[in-house]
């Protein structure tokens, strides 16, 4: 097997809260292979965004340790100069709110030009032609005119296209998209997801898609990592995860989601709420909300382990062996769903 494009090993983040450090990430292990889409899903505060900000050295004031290997080089040990070559060049980031990520007092063309100058050394007419080509590529009509406009003259969907064009300026191997469509309307979200899928097919870049929306993740991802309270609690191929979720939290999330099809039934809500990072229980962070909790859950946090008979799937649950066998015998057959856009 070829080495993954990016590998996070034991990534931890501690925030300085004054009197003491509070651990927000408890040793994240994740990898992205070339060209694949990794979906990272979880509720607010689970650490899904922090993981990637920490990996790229964008978390000022926090203590970050572990290893972030990008194409074999450890980004955490890199000097600022080398890091800024990777960041924005080989790894690009787009955020939820494009309007606040763009500079409001500079024309769109100039902002794309800046990225082109930094990462490709293009200036003047060459940069302008390339910027125009990039805007065409992300599906902006009338690209030549758009270059002279300011972000406030464009809609939210257009601004997100500009962000994607800037991200493409460095011809990245990996695009990290942090809730790229959360602020957008449903029909615009469909456009942006469509665009990201097409760009990925054309350029072969890998995509890390961070979202709270299980539907978006199900649509886009090849593989999914589910996070809870600063840990990855399940990781699996997307089709498997949504057909037969393993971890009780993943099962709970899917059951709590209302649906457009099927009979309308009362939602199966997960009781309680996510514990605060400075008040985590000694054992599994989900134990207090879990229907399958047992004595073993309260001793130590469970680690990610391979599921029996499913080598591509990992679950961090002390009771997984019992739960998984129970589920497979009862629920696996009717739940098999055809694998979409494989």
């Amino acid at each position: 097997m070829t080495t993954p494009l990016m590998q996070l090993r034991g990534l931890t983040v501690d925030f300085d809260t004054g009197p003491r450090f509070v651990r927000a990430l408890h040793g994240i292990d994740m990898e992205i292979r070339r060209g694949e889409t990794l979906g990272v899903v979880g509720e607010s505060g689970c650490g899904k965004s922090i993981t990637w900000l920490a990996a790229l050295g964008l978390l000022g004031g926090a203590r970050v340790s572990g290893q972030v290997l990008f194409d074999g080089d450890d980004l955490l040990g890199m000097g600022p100069r080398a890091l800024s070559k990777v960041r924005g060049g080989r790894v690009a980031l787009i955020f939820q709110d494009p309007a606040s990520a763009l500079n409001p007092v500079q024309r769109v063309g100039r902002q794309i030009g800046e990225a082109l100058a930094l990462h490709r050394g293009l200036r003047g007419d060459a940069a302008r032609t390339e910027a125009r080509r990039l805007l065409d590529r992300v599906g902006m009509s009338n690209a030549a005119q758009r270059l002279n406009e300011y972000p406030h003259e464009l809609s939210g969907g257009m601004n997100q296209r500009v962000m994607i064009a800037m991200a493409l300026a460095g011809e990245p191997d990996l695009l990290i998209a942090d809730e790229p469509t959360t602020a957008l309307d449903a029909t615009i979200q469909a456009q942006i997801l469509d665009l990201l899928g097409n760009l990925q097919r054309e350029t072969g870049m890998a995509l890390a898609l961070i979202s709270h929306d299980l539907g978006v993740i199900a649509d886009m991802a090849d593989r999914v990592a589910v996070m809870y309270a600063g840990r990855v609690i399940e990781e699996a191929p997307a089709a498997d995860l949504f057909a037969t979720p393993g971890h009780p939290y993943t099962r709970g999330l899917l059951a709590a989601l209302p649906d457009l099809d099927g009979p309308r039934a009362r939602l199966a809500a997960i009781p309680g709420s996510v514990p605060a990072p400075n008040g985590l229980p000694p054992g599994c962070a989900f134990a207090r909300r879990c229907a399958h909790v047992d004595g073993v859950c309260e001793t130590a946090p469970p680690t990610l382990r391979v599921l029996p008979d499913a080598p591509a799937r990992h679950v961090a649950c002390a009771r997984m062996d019992a739960l998984w066998c129970g589920q497979n015998s009862v629920a696996a057959a009717p739940q098999t769903r055809e694998r979409a856009n494989a």
Binding site: D213, I217, A238, A239
Partner: protein, 340 residues
């Protein structure tokens, strides 16, 4: 006493705006809501879906009398809703309450929550003895699943889901007949969203309030609503039962919305990707407002505004979905439609 609690007739709200151009700008009219008709029966939940700028929230404000309509009217229990914010409006507001998207913005940060939940009694029932007010506030807290020891908490000490429970408790304090909910769970995480939706269903079963339930999330609307109205650019484009609208949408816009709704339970599906952005409500296209983005549009759509035609409990405003005989059938999904 009729069965209709709330009715809107040819309801419109236009705002004068100034567009760039000239010394002081060019005057124009923004038609936030442009001729909306609907009825809401007692105890019914009407879902209102649409994208930002389609007039959902303006409709909510019109219903509550927060802004006066430019034309048309809203009637609550047979009488027009006053908009003058005087005594008669206040009396009516007792019977209709609002739940907003952002609970932190709807709560007073400097008051303990029990005082906020009891505040409607202070305003509307000044004669109620103090111990009874306290007792009723405590009962409300219990009914929305807040613990008695949280009574003295301030909003910042609670989680988002708990804050929304406080807002719901306060809205239900006076047993309103109508609740207007504007994106009540959009700011909440999935697991908490399910808790709040279940709570609202339970409270509805117990108290029988009617609701105007506004959301951009089709899944949430299907979960809560008895009937659904889809809006686009200030007008109703489709109406029907949730399963009719979401399983066999008639209007091409609804078809696109439904196909684009992200749900993990339908991985293999054809997403209809509409071109372009929703038009600026200042500059509504001629004919059918949806025609520039419509994959099925024909020449007639560019010139003639489709009216909302009703048939057997459903309604649609689309030339292609209406036959000459008055029957409604889904608009054809044109070959042009880009299926991703």
């Amino acid at each position: 006493m009729s069965d209709v609690l709330l009715s809107a007739r040819a309801l419109a709200r236009h705002y004068p705006v100034r567009l760039p151009g000239g010394l002081l700008g060019r005057p124009a009219t923004l038609k936030a809501v442009d001729g909306v008709d609907f009825d809401l029966a007692r105890g019914e939940v009407l879902g209102l879906v649409g994208e930002s700028g389609c007039g959902k929230s303006t409709t909510a404000k019109l219903v509550l009398g927060h802004v006066p309509p430019s034309s048309g009217e809203v009637r609550f229990d047979g009488a027009p809703v006053p908009t003058d914010r005087r005594a008669d409006w206040r009396r009516l507001r007792r019977r209709m309450q609002m739940i907003y998207q952002d609970p932190l913005g709807a709560l007073d940060r400097r008051l303990p929550i029990v005082a906020q939940i009891g505040e409607p009694f202070d305003i509307h029932c000044p004669d109620m003895p103090r111990p009874e007010r306290r007792e009723r506030a405590a009962a409300l807290m219990a009914s929305v699943g807040l613990r008695p020891d949280q009574a003295g908490s301030y909003p910042h000490e609670l989680s988002g889901g708990q804050r929304q429970r406080v807002v719901i408790a306060r809205a239900l304090a006076l047993d309103p007949e109508l609740l207007v909910c504007d994106e009540p769970v959009s700011a909440l995480d999935v697991s908490i969203q399910a808790q709040v939706l279940n709570l609202m269903s339970d409270l509805r079963d117990r108290t029988g309030f009617a609701a105007l339930f506004i959301s951009h999330d089709l899944k949430v609307v299907r979960q809560m609503a008895d009937r659904v109205v889809v809006m686009y650019l200030g007008r109703i484009v489709e109406e029907g039962l949730p399963d009719q609208v979401f399983h066999a949408p008639l209007h091409p816009y609804t078809q696109a919305l439904v196909s684009a709704a992200p749900t993990p339970h339908r991985r293999a599906r054809n997403r209809i990707v509409l071109p372009g952005d929703p038009p600026n409500p200042v500059d509504v296209p001629s004919g059918c407002p949806f025609h520039p983005r419509c994959p099925a549009a024909v020449a007639r759509c560019r010139s003639e505004v489709p009216s909302l035609v009703r048939d057997a409990g459903r309604a649609v405003a689309c030339h292609l979905a209406q036959s000459a005989g008055g029957d409604l059938s889904p608009a054809p999904r044109a070959l042009k439609a880009k299926v991703a």
